[in-house]
Every structure is written in C-alpha cells, then in structure tokens.
C-alpha cells in the first residue's frame, strides 16, 4: 500500500523565536540570531556566541512540574503545541495503534546530566539529585510531551547525531505512506548545553567569526538550539476531515558514509546515494528539484563534501539549482536541524520564497553551487529537498512538494 503523506501541522522553536511566523519573517529578512551565550560561562572558550533561544518561556505544563524538566523538554513542548494546534487534532484523534511519536535528538537533556554530575563531583554523590539522570535520557523529553498532550503509545527516539531529526521524519513518513499508521508526530530537538558546545569546540569545529556556509572563507559552525515538529497524516484522511494541508512529504533517502566518526567522506559518495534514494523514493527526477535546503554547516570539510554529493547525485544541473543553508542565521541545531530545516523548506514551498544563505560573500571553487544570497521569489518552486548529515556518517534526505504542484 502506498499513500500520499500530508503535512497538517508544524511547530518550530529556534533562536529566531517561537513559532512559524517569527521564524519565517526573520529567515526571509536574513536576520542573524547568533548571539552571545548566557546559559553558561564562555570565558574559557574562543567562541562565545551561538543560536541560543533568548528568554525561553517556561512551558505551561499542566501535568508535570516545570522546574523538574530539562530545557530540552520546554523547547519540545512549544514546538509540539504549535504543531498540534495548527493541525486541529485533539487527543481523542490519537489512536496509539495507528499513530506514532518519532523524535530525533543528539544529546537529549544533557544539561540535566551535566548538573547531576557537577553536584556529584563538587558536593558529593549523596547530594546529587538523581531525577536529573532520568531526565537527561533522550527518551525522557518525548515521554514528557506525550504525557502532557495525552499522546499514548511508545515513542521512537532516533539518535543519529545531526541527521536525527530528518531520520525521525523519514520514519514517520514511511509509516504513514505504507499504511502502517495514519498519524505521525515527528521531528527533532536539541538544547544548547556546555557539554555539546565544549565537544564541538574540542573538535575545532566552531567558528569564532560569522558562520558562512559555502563561502571560501568559511571557518566553522555556530551551534544552535531548538525544536521542529511536523504532523504527518495520510493525505485522504486529512482531506476528509477538512484539514489545511501545508505541504507533502514526497520521499526520503538515507545512507551511511562508513568513512570516519566525525569527518564526512570528501567525495560525498554515500551522501549522494542518500539524495538519489530520496529522489527515487519520491519518484522525481533531478531536474524536478527547484531548491536545496543544504545541511551547510559552514565547516570547510562539510560544505565541500555536500557540494560533491549534490553534483554526483543531481548532475551538472546541480549548479543551477538554488541552494541555501539556514544554519547561517540560527546555527546548527544538531538533532533538531533536520526537522527545523525541513519546516523552513516547506514554508519556502508554501510561500514561494527562497530563504537566503547569509554571510556568503566569496565564492569557493570547491562549492560551486548557486547560493541564494538574499530572499528571492523564483519562477518555479514546486519540489525541494532538505539534506541532513551527521557524526557517525549518517546521511538523510527529505523531499517535499508544494500543495497543488502535483497538478
């Protein structure tokens, strides 16, 4: 059985703010929300800025004590609330035998783990608060929001580093498309915490300047935080209940580099395979692709490898397809990146605007793609792909189509 998969709700939290409206407005304006970090002391680090969500409001939990849960759960709450509200679905519509929650994250509630360990070392094991260890686990945050929004069932929690969010969306997509389920609440999240920041710092992956993906002078990534949620639904079911369809998930492809734990294959061979699989899965040809929302981290290795992958998968015409990376404005959301960037891609298709890749000034011969420097209204924008690549060689590619583009 193969069914069309509609997107009927989306929720997004990034350093641009909470909600689709503010995120889309600032994205089109090319506004940078990379700002000084206030969540922890950065005095010892060369990099002092990140895509931190400023003044994150405490989520209005009804069933869980707000002070008990990790920042990750708060981020997730806001995104889930927005997606569910937009979809018009109620808890009663959620049949656990036909619905799934699939989420991706890299480190879950690691800030809680840090706090437990800090107390363990500095105050002594007996004075550390053990619930923080439970809260730091990556399946704790999905369980919190499921309890809060009365979504029964067992969450699937993907932790494939920076491809996690896209993998979770891909899982939900296949579940609905093959008829094994009718609804999938899927996406990804990751909060900013010192552990991850220090980790990328130790790998010398963080830029001390502006994050400028695909630019010749790119010098690294900016970390971000946030969450993105997509509510996927069987197309006919969504139509039957009169839901507003925001876009369509058309295909999904995945692969692994099997090359290095932290570095991508310079030739992008497996990443190209993921792009090809995704297009094949979607039933579209390379010439049908109107926009690429790139993984585009801004590291020298990554952007060159992604360019090689796009050229290998799409052929020479890849140089004509508009490409941009949202990470230049909101940073790299790790496990949240795939879902958040997927949402921005759907918004681009919905609004028919290409989002910009800010800070791009000097073309790099190794990244000879058509980089979108300012928001542009293209002649044609029907099908777009969103790339996500991560540690451990994980590659995931989602294909989206605008509503009405099938006619």
């Amino acid at each position: 059985m193969t069914r069309r998969v509609a997107i009927t709700g989306m929720g997004i939290v990034t350093s641009h703010g909470i909600g689709k409206a503010v995120n889309w407005r600032k994205t089109l304006a090319g506004e940078s929300s990379i700002r000084p970090i206030t969540l922890f002391d950065t005095a010892a680090y060369r990099t002092k800025r990140a895509g931190q969500v400023a003044d994150l409001p405490v989520a209005p939990w009804r069933r869980i004590r707000a002070s008990r849960v990790d920042r990750a759960s708060h981020l997730l709450y806001h995104a889930v609330a927005e997606a569910l509200e937009e979809s018009g679905l109620a808890a009663a519509d959620w049949d656990p035998s036909r619905s799934v929650v699939a989420l991706g994250t890299t480190l879950g509630g690691m800030a809680s783990g840090e706090r437990y360990h800090q107390a363990y070392v500095r105050k002594g094991p007996a004075r550390a608060q053990p619930s923080r260890v439970v809260d730091h686990l990556a399946h704790a945050q999905p369980l919190h929001v499921m309890e809060e929004f009365s979504l029964r069932g067992v969450p699937r929690v993907f932790s494939n580093a920076c491809a996690s969010g896209a993998n979770a969306v891909g899982y939900g997509f296949h579940l609905v498309r093959t008829g094994r389920g009718d609804l999938a609440l899927c996406g990804g999240y990751d909060p900013l915490c010192e552990f991850a920041f220090a980790g990328f710092h130790s790998l010398q992956a963080l830029t001390t300047e502006l994050c400028r993906p695909f630019d010749c002078n790119r010098s690294g990534l900016a970390i971000g935080e946030g969450a993105g949620i997509l509510l996927l639904e069987a197309w006919d079911r969504a139509k039957a209940r009169g839901a507003r369809i925001l876009g369509e998930v058309l295909g999904y492809g995945e692969s692994n580099d099997a090359f290095h734990m932290t570095r991508p294959d310079p030739e992008g061979r497996s990443a190209a395979l993921a792009v090809r699989h995704a297009l094949q899965d979607a039933g579209v040809a390379p010439e049908d692709v109107d926009y690429v929302n790139a993984h585009g981290t801004g590291t020298p290795f990554n952007d060159a490898s992604e360019t090689a992958a796009l050229l290998a998968a799409l052929g020479p015409q890849a140089r004509e397809i508009p490409v941009s990376s949202s990470k230049s404005m909101i940073g790299h959301l790790l496990g949240g990146a795939g879902a958040v960037e997927g949402i921005l891609t759907v918004l681009a298709l919905e609004e028919r605007w290409l989002p910009p890749n800010v800070n791009y000034e000097t073309p790099d011969p190794e990244c000879d793609l058509r980089i979108v420097q300012t928001a542009t209204r293209p002649e044609r924008l029907r099908v777009a792909i969103s790339n996500s690549f991560g540690f451990g060689g994980a590659n995931a590619v989602l294909v989206f189509r605008a509503v009405g583009a099938d006619s």
Binding site: H139, A198, L203
Partner: protein, 358 residues
C-alpha cells in the same frame, strides 16, 4: 503470507563468563555470575578482524563491535562481505558509553576546556557504537541508533524488520549495548532507595553491562546464499503503561506478539522474564496470558546471570533464546519479556526455523 524475519547470526558479550557457548553448555543452568556485573577484559581482535583500529573506543562501542563481529561470522559473512549499501545496522541503548561522557565532562569541569578530549566527546554521542560499526563492516545502508529503556531492543528489531520487508536492506545487524557506569548506578540506587520508602522492594537486578547482536534476514533470501536460520522472530509487541496497571498492558503485548505466529501463549516452551523493573508484574502477566497451558513453560531468568544491562538486556534475552533454540536445547516457541522504568514494555516470540508459519 508475510516473509518471516529469521536470525542467521548471534553474538553475545555478557558479564563474567556469559557468552553463547557458556549459555548453551550450562543450560538448563545459566553461567554463574562473578559478582561485578562487568564484562571481563578482552581484546577486540579476538572477535573482529582489524579490531585494533578501534582500540580507543568506549566500552559500549567495543562490546557492540565484538558482538557484531561474532554475529556476522556466525551468519557466514565476514567483516569484508557483510557491508554495502544493501546492509543496515540498528543499535538500541539506554545510557550507552556513559563513562566516556562522564570522563569528558569531568575533564571539562576539573581541568578546563583544553583538557577535554575530542575523542571522549565523539565517543560520547549515542550513535558512536553504530557509527564505528558502519566503518568496521563498511555498512553504507541505513544505520540507526534508538534510545529507550530495556525494551529498546524490540524497537530495533521492529525497525530492522521494516527495512528488510520494504526491500531497503537485504541483511541487518541489530544490536544492543551498554557500558556500566558508576555515576549512573549511583543515581539509580538513589532513586530505588527513595522509592522503597513508599513501595515494597521489587527485587530490581543491579545495573550491569554487555552487548548482543543478531544478523536478521528474510527467510526467502536464505536459500540463495545457502545460509541457515537459527531461529525465527515470529512476532513481537510493543507497549507502554504509564499508570499502575502494567499487567494488562503486558498481556496485550504478549497477545499482540503471538498475533500472527500461528501459535498461542499456551504453547510457550520457555520464557525469559524482564531483567529490569516490574519483574513480578511481568511474571504474573505471563502466567495470565498462558492460561491453562498443557505443559508449564521453563523460566530462563537472565537477571540471575547478567544483572540488568539496560539497553542491551532485551537483545541478550532474544539472543539467548535463539542460541538455545538453535542448539536444540529448547523447542520454542520462546517468549521474551522486557519492561522499563517508565512503563515501556515489549514481548518477542521466537520459534524454530521450519516451525509455525503465519
């Protein structure tokens, strides 16, 4: 008819003397625990050709690679022949390589950011075991890490089965791995102490470590490569009961697992109860699901032998049942139950190859 998912390779790395050969040899007893719940020191090269290249990885990755190496060899593949774009890996874990996370954070806290090792960070990410395994076996198809409680192994089986049945992969390694951590163990001990002020002690086995790996394939593809199925993953059920009535949810998962197997809970030959929490409820639920069985099932309680290796426990149970079925020590069907602290649970039914057909 649905193409059945079969186990063609088994690899087990458990605490003390716990391993496939020891389990089969000692049955119906189980290898005796050696007190610590820790895996005995070993060189990765013993189980994985070229294993020296991975000498600096975390314990969780090392256990996973060793178990996978054993499973791949057992299935008739080698590290050179298993991989490719049509092979996949699914790893399930709870805390994974927590000691490296602790070490990285400790370096950061006590010695400053200059002392924080990038290796300890990259090995801290949960998908380090799967990522390293993809490199070791050159697996270029789907490679996933799932996080969950003890029943996460069944989620990994479910995901792998989906990939096999949809034709996205032809063979899939499914593994669970966990490394013991002093900090995590201390936290759970604190939680248990706090809970026992309100609840009667429920005999929670101590946290331990280990890994298990299975090579899964579709039964229909075996003949062309001349391979043998060691056991059939006949059915499985996954559920969650956040409230107090976990027994009913376990019964539902058991019935779900038997749903299309052609046999029923009363036919069960052996049962592996959970190694985590809710063990008494799971045992009661099992007895209830079995009803008036003609023959009482044999209980194979791994908790006595391996403690609770959290995210690795479920697949160690499945691997044990499969190894015993493959060796002819038990007949099947076998029923594997798993429960987690927040009420997640699963049931898996294993049969002999050539047994009940859905």
């Amino acid at each position: 008819m649905t193409d059945r998912i079969v186990i063609t390779g088994i690899g087990m790395i458990g605490p003390g003397a716990f391993g496939r050969a020891a389990v089969v040899r000692a049955f119906p007893a189980l290898p005796r625990p050696e007190g610590t719940g820790r895996v005995a020191e070993f060189a990765l090269e013993e189980h994985l050709e070229g294993g020296r290249a991975f000498r600096r990885v975390s314990g969780a990755t090392k256990f996973a690679l060793a178990a996978m190496g054993l499973a791949i060899g057992d299935a008739g593949f080698s590290a050179q022949t298993f991989g490719g774009p049509d092979a996949g890996i699914i790893v399930g874990l709870t805390h994974g390589g927590a000691p490296y996370s602790v070490q990285f954070h400790r370096e950061l806290m006590l010695e400053g950011r200059q002392a924080a090792s990038p290796l300890h960070f990259s090995e801290s990410v949960p998908n380090a075991p799967a990522g390293n395994a993809a490199i070791a076996f050159q697996v270029r198809g789907p490679v996933h890490t799932l996080i969950g409680e003890e029943p996460v192994g069944t989620q990994a089986i479910d995901l792998a089965a989906g990939l096999l049945r949809s034709g996205l992969v032809e063979r899939c390694l499914v593994a669970g791995t966990e490394e013991w951590s002093e900090v995590v163990t201390h936290a759970y001990a604190q939680i248990d102490r706090a809970r026992r002020r309100r609840l009667a002690p429920n005999g929670v086995p101590p946290l331990s470590e280990g890994a298990a790996a299975l090579v899964l394939e579709l039964e229909s593809t075996l003949t062309q490569r001349g391979a043998r199925a060691q056991a059939v993953l006949a059915g499985w059920g996954i559920g969650r009961c956040p409230g107090d009535h976990i027994e009913d949810t376990i019964v539902a998962a058991v019935l779900d697992a038997f749903g299309s197997t052609g046999c029923c809970a009363a036919d069960v030959d052996h049962i592996l109860p959970p190694t985590g929490r809710s063990r008494p409820a799971a045992i009661r639920a099992c007895v209830s699901a079995q009803g008036e069985a003609a023959e009482p099932a044999r209980w194979v309680d791994l908790a006595c032998a391996v403690g609770n290796p959290a995210g690795a426990s479920n697949l160690l149970q499945v691997a044990t049942s499969a190894a015993l079925i493959s060796a002819g020590k038990v007949n099947g069907p076998g029923l594997v139950l798993s429960t987690g602290v927040t009420g997640t649970l699963s049931a898996v039914v294993l049969c002999r190859a050539g047994g009940a057909q859905p």
